[in-house]
Symmetry: C2
Subunit: 221 residues, 2 copies
DNA sequence: CGAAGTGTTGAAGCAAATCAATTTTCGTGG
DNA sequence: CCACGAAAATTGATTTGCTTCAACACTTCG
């Protein structure tokens, strides 16, 4: 099914807001995001898509997408037409997978609401790193609790609802307190327990198998 | 299907976080909410449920709910067992309705993210009122652009990620600028266009029929 | 009538935004 | 391979939107 492969450069819009959608995308490599643009020019990134994620969980019910879809890093996508999906949901049991993706996405987005509403800048940042740590572990992109953040500090600001300046300072705080280290884009979590405490992070919301979770916590793959 | 009717008082928890879920609820009267509690005591309301809304769109895939479900006002619910839903999805075409509910919920929650991330306190409040105006219109609870807000200012604070004090002051601002009027719990939108401008509100995200939208804008039912 | 919950007000403090450079990194072409 | 320009990261100074604290008033209801 994953035949039509396409590549996009970083910050390249793949779908503008409100554009009619004839197919959905699977992220194969790189990071992408869903975002919203406000009339006053401000931007908010609604969700981050990592390799393996689907552009929209609504393959089954065609509709207008009401948010933009854009590359955060150079990204490789596979385009799947709605017909293919509908066929596949009958043939194989793809629909269960779609439901699961949807459940996962919703859980992340709700946690995002909590972060924006009730966590401080430092907590938000720490939480984002904790979440990325787990999600990237699931796709094998974490080594010794270290991973590459594909995004710029400006992007992080748009994710966390902060200014770039403040993101920069919060990152420095995390480094200074010895919770993480950073060499260029390579971030390493030095104190996982400490960072999670700082973030008020509880991985329960991701609905992962306890064994999987233990593996992530223990070794960082 | 809507046989098992239950009532709850305001602020009564219906389901605690992480509690196993054997059925889903349909709100018949009153307002309810999904919320998350942080270990530091702070609380964030993730979504508001009005009459006609479903407690969880995940009736089809049984799972842990990872957020609490609580009454905001005295509320009447109908409990539907998962078996009933599964039966009905085969018999009638309920599953389409479930998808639609899910689509709607997701759209609202994403807009919530945008509000918390990139709107000021005043804009958030205005946006909330605009959204409630539309949603309540859909269930016939708006008269001449006026409706009853069931929730306290403290609840609004937990929805918008603000302090109660600031909610109070922002409400006063909206009244002072002549955008709304308020008599007790009865809120009336005096200048719909103005309020929407203030809120950066664009109803497009709710996927409503243009005619329905016009009806709401024009008369307020 | 009193108590609890809700709404309102004022003053003070602080987290984060904004503004404005400056430095560093990085990609690209000469 | 270096030079250049642009993007990204960093820093300092200042401002502000919102929180916090603390008191007080109003409403509702047993």
């Amino acid at each position: 099914m994953l035949t039509r492969i396409q590549s996009y450069g970083a910050r390249g819009d793949i779908l503008a807001e409100g554009e009619k959608q004839k197919s959905i995308y699977v992220v194969l490599q790189g990071w992408a995001c869903r975002f919203k643009l406000l009339p006053n020019g401000k931007q908010q990134i609604v969700s981050i898509l990592l390799p393996g994620d689907l552009s929209e969980p609504f393959g089954v019910t065609p509709h207008f997408i009401e948010n933009g879809f854009s590359a955060l890093t150079p990204v490789t996508l596979a385009r799947v037409s709605l017909e293919d999906i509908r066929e596949a949901s009958v043939r194989d049991n793809i629909s269960t997978a779609l439901w699961w993706d949807l459940l996962f996405t919703t859980a992340l987005e709700r946690q995002h609401i909590v972060s924006l509403g009730r966590r401080t800048a430092l907590e938000r940042l720490a939480h984002l790193l904790c979440e990325l740590h787990v999600r990237l572990s699931l796709v094998g992109q974490v080594k010794e609790h270290g991973f590459e953040i594909g995004v710029t500090q400006t992007d992080i600001a748009d994710i966390l609802g902060l200014s770039t300046v403040h993101v920069n300072r919060s990152l420095q705080d995390l480094r200074a307190s010895g919770l993480i280290s950073q060499e260029g884009r390579w971030v390493k979590i030095l104190d996982l327990t400490g960072l999670r405490e700082e973030a008020l992070f509880d991985p329960a919301y991701m609905h992962l198998d306890p064994d999987v979770l233990d593996a992530i916590d223990g070794l960082g793959v």
